[in-house]
């Protein structure tokens, strides 16, 4: 066997055409990376809008019997906040990260359907724009759950409810098309050697996310179509006076609504499963168990929707079934948490910002998981449902579960997307402000709920310590907002002055780090052969061996001379 010479880094020609720049090139792009960036920027803007609405809610509740905003405006605020965070931030942000990284992580040069991919983005933008245009007329005020009959034409005559329906339809269509694209790309365009057992865990999560979207989204689309025809075309699907059923809405909504929770958190689980091994310098513990638990959570997620309806007049046996399913979904979720801690165990943990956000996620999501099991106990739910205990629970699950992982992903992948590092000190400041602010805001809300304060009330009486507890929560929310602001500043600043990242600043495991930062339009000149879940580890080892003149065993992962890797 021949001895290898040390690799000479060389620039390969990516394309004969010059890369397009300027406004029109973004408008017409079908490049998954540019679409991904547009997704992430747009959804982050919605995150800031939704966050502003949350701060206004907290300001209103900062004093008992406050008159800062009217009941009407308050109802509009919490409706906009919930809808924005779910439909315009978390779900499409995951789609944005997936758009950017799914092809890179599986060694593909673009998505399977690039133009459909662009359409998904523009549908999202249109849905969000029309929804937010409603603030100049009548924003919706029936809550993000839009229970009928409150959401019907008689009780919500304004156009805001229709803007909400429009948003659900367009973002739903956007998500379905995106999910089909993710699935088709993963099924067909993986690098040679990347069997299902070597798929990165983030991709397993995105696959499950895609299947959940494809199954759940058409149900909410049907539900809002029925609502639309009830509102405008004289049908009576939800009208009890005409033998329609108001409970039908709740069933359809939550059949979508609970899988939606997993649509939001599963990609976050995937991000954590990618980041922890990198910063613990240790392989993921129990790859198969984590992949399998992702899929089983996805399946069980379709059986638990009635746990949102424990206080409705449904037969008790239906409630018991939903309770059992909810208990058992805690098992694969627990398995994941155990596996993540085991990944850290006996590692050498480097406390970089992405890892801090993952640890923040682990500690917060554990609390959300435990309060979730408590809420699954039917009689306990009778006391706690529709109170601030539930508000605390969903924020531990969605903010702790999805938002902290999104921030981990931002800090982890920003160098790949922009070619520059984010500032570590500012990142750590952002993390600690967000973590402390989060706990101050939401931990006390469990107690507010236990003390009997329902959700979605614009005022409360100063009973017991309710005023104090609410003030703690309000102060916490502003600390949390400062933490988010620190990351915004960090991103803006680092775009200009961040340290040059190089292709693989973290010495990570997955294929996106094989490309230069930012990756060229075609992603890969040469697609390496995949031999494990951690292809970059294999490639680094091989390059080291070549450099030291030791022949690499077996087939070369990287064709000699074609390397882009800057080890």
């Amino acid at each position: 066997m021949a001895t290898y010479a040390a690799p000479v880094p060389q620039v390969a020609a990516h394309s004969v055409e010059r890369e397009q720049r300027g406004f029109m090139s973004w408008l017409t792009t079908t490049d998954h990376k540019r679409i991904g960036i547009m997704y992430m920027v747009l959804t982050f803007v919605f995150f800031l809008l939704g966050g502003t609405e949350a701060l206004m809610i907290r300001l209103q509740l900062g004093a008992p019997e406050n008159t800062l905003v009217s009941p009407q405006v308050y109802n509009q605020l919490f409706t906009m906040h919930g809808t924005t965070m779910i439909f315009l931030f978390v779900v499409p942000m995951m789609a944005g990260l997936g758009n950017y990284f799914l092809p890179l992580m599986i060694g593909a040069r673009d998505m399977a359907y690039p133009r459909l991919n662009a359409l998904s983005f523009w549908l999202l933008l249109t849905g969000g724009a029309v929804f937010y245009a409603s603030i100049f007329w009548n924003p919706p005020e029936a809550g993000w759950t839009s229970y009928v009959p409150l959401a019907n034409a008689f009780f919500s005559p304004g156009g805001g409810e229709d803007a909400w329906i429009y948003l659900i339809h367009l973002t739903g269509l956007s998500s379905i098309l995106g999910a089909i694209n993710f699935y088709a790309t993963t099924a067909n365009m993986r690098a040679p050697g990347m069997s299902w057992g070597r798929l990165p865990l983030f991709i397993w999560a995105l696959l499950t996310y895609s299947v959940l979207i494809i199954v759940a989204m058409p149900v909410i689309a049907a539900a809002v179509t029925l609502l639309l025809t009830d509102r405008h075309f004289g049908t009576h699907f939800f009208d009890p006076a005409q033998n329609g059923s108001a409970l039908l809405w709740q069933n359809m909504f939550w059949f979508f609504g609970h899988p939606e929770v997993y649509i939001m958190v599963l990609p976050g689980f995937g991000i954590v499963s990618e980041i922890l091994p990198v910063f613990a310098r240790k392989p993921i513990f129990g790859y198969k168990a984590i992949a399998a638990s992702t899929v089983s959570i996805g399946f069980l997620g379709f059986l638990v929707w009635v746990h949102h309806m424990f206080t409705t007049p449904l037969p008790i046996i239906v409630l018991i079934f939903a309770m059992l399913a909810s208990f058992f979904i805690a098992v694969p979720t627990g398995v994941k948490i155990f596996n993540w801690i085991a990944t850290l165990w006996r590692g050498t943990i480097e406390f970089k910002t992405p890892l801090l956000f993952c640890v923040g996620f682990l500690s917060l999501f554990t609390i959300g998981g435990i309060s979730g099991v408590m809420l699954a106990v039917i009689p306990v739910d009778w006391q706690l449902n529709e109170t601030y205990f539930v508000i605390a629970h969903i924020h531990f699950v969605l903010m702790g579960g999805a938002v902290f992982t999104i921030f981990a992903g931002i800090y982890y992948w920003f160098p790949k997307i922009t070619g520059r590092m984010l500032n570590e000190s500012l990142g750590k400041l952002s993390f600690w402000l967000m973590f402390v602010g989060f706990l101050a805001t939401f931990l006390i809300q469990h107690v507010i709920g236990l003390d009997g304060m329902p959700r979605r009330v614009y005022e409360y009486e100063s009973v017991g310590h309710l005023t104090l507890y609410n003030q703690i929560s309000t102060v916490g929310s502003f600390i949390l907002a400062l933490g988010v602001l620190a990351t915004v500043i960090n991103v803006m600043r680092s775009l200009k002055v961040g340290a040059i990242a190089g292709p693989d600043p973290w010495k990570a495991n997955t294929l996106e780090w094989f490309t230069p930062s930012p990756p060229p339009v075609n992603n890969f000149d040469t697609i390496p052969r995949i031999r494990s879940v951690e292809p970059m580890k294999d490639i680094r080892r091989e390059v080291e061996q070549r450099a030291s003149g030791v022949p690499a065993p077996g087939r070369a992962t990287v064709p000699a001379g074609a390397t882009q890797v800057g080890v």
Binding site: F155, T312, G334, R346, G347, V380, Q383, G452
Partner: protein
């Protein structure tokens, strides 16, 4: 008035102490809370220990472990055992939380009630002797109406009713039939047990049995529109004799008002000239 504005509320538990179902929920809640706390301390403790013990230090080398099948099966089984135990516990406790006991010996005698009247629905749980004070809770934007037994005509006409404040006798099992006339509301008096949605077109049922006189306070728990926060409900428990007197007085006042209204309607009907009412 002691229960109207409690100055201290329990920090870790829901309100209880006024009705057996609320107490039982509280007991169940505590068990679940303790199990949750143990898991919380275990998981967060392991996480904190791992972060401290295995932080990157000079000379430390990460163990290249890919998994441990026995350990993984072990903790999956352990998690399954915990949730199965919780499931069994809840199912066992559920029926006593749902099913009311008989009224106490000092409870109201419920004249005209409980003479074997059967309900077609299996959802309404009545005490073993079938006797309960049945009150219909009618939710509307944004007020609660309570219709008590004692209708003189069909369709509950002539039945005494009250708004916002429900008056009930102590030591008496009260069975509620919760309905809505417009949007979805949710009945909830925290100290008297869980909440139940009032869904138009459906009946929902719950019960309570109050031992001590007092005022118990709650409010609508499901967003029902702009007045949601002010849709207050209170339950005032009084001795059975006081209750009977109160109910008779309500009935008299309502009948009197109905009679007056009937007279006025008649007068209007007979009126000719300006203001004449056109009857179809």
């Amino acid at each position: 008035m002691s229960h109207l504005l409690p100055t201290t509320l329990a920090f870790f538990t829901p309100q209880s102490g006024a009705s057996p179902n609320a107490n039982e929920i509280n007991d169940l809640y505590k068990i679940v809370l303790y199990v949750g706390l143990v898991i919380f301390v275990g998981v967060e403790g392991a996480l904190a220990y791992a972060l401290y013990r295995f932080r990157a230090r000079k000379g430390a080398v990460a163990a290249q472990i890919h998994g441990n099948t026995r350990l993984e099966i072990g903790w999956t089984a352990a998690a399954a055992v915990v949730v199965t135990a919780l499931a069994i516990l809840t199912v066992v406790k559920l029926s006593s939380i749902q099913s009311p006991p008989n009224s106490g010996p000092t409870g109201d005698t419920l004249v005209g009630e409980g003479n074997g009247e059967l309900y077609a629905t299996a959802d309404r749980h009545l005490p073993p002797n079938g006797k309960a004070l049945k009150i219909k809770v009618v939710a509307r934007q944004y007020i609660w109406q309570y219709v008590y037994p004692g209708a003189t005509k069909a369709d509950e006409l002539g039945a005494p009713y009250s708004y916002e404040e429900m008056v009930v006798p102590t030591e008496t099992t009260v069975s509620l039939d919760i309905v809505s006339e417009d949007v979805v509301h949710s009945w909830w008096i925290p100290a008297l047990g869980g909440k139940f949605q009032a869904v138009p077109g459906y009946h929902n049922y719950t019960w309570f049995k109050i031992s001590k006189p007092g005022l118990y306070r709650g409010q609508c728990a499901n967003i029902c529109g702009r007045g949601h926060a002010r849709m207050i409900a209170t339950v005032r428990a009084v001795s059975p004799t006081e209750f009977d007197a109160w109910l008779a007085e309500r009935k008299r006042l309502i009948e009197e008002a109905n009679t007056d209204a009937a007279h006025e309607r008649e007068a209007l009907n007979k009126q000719t000239g300006p203001g004449q009412v056109e009857n179809p």
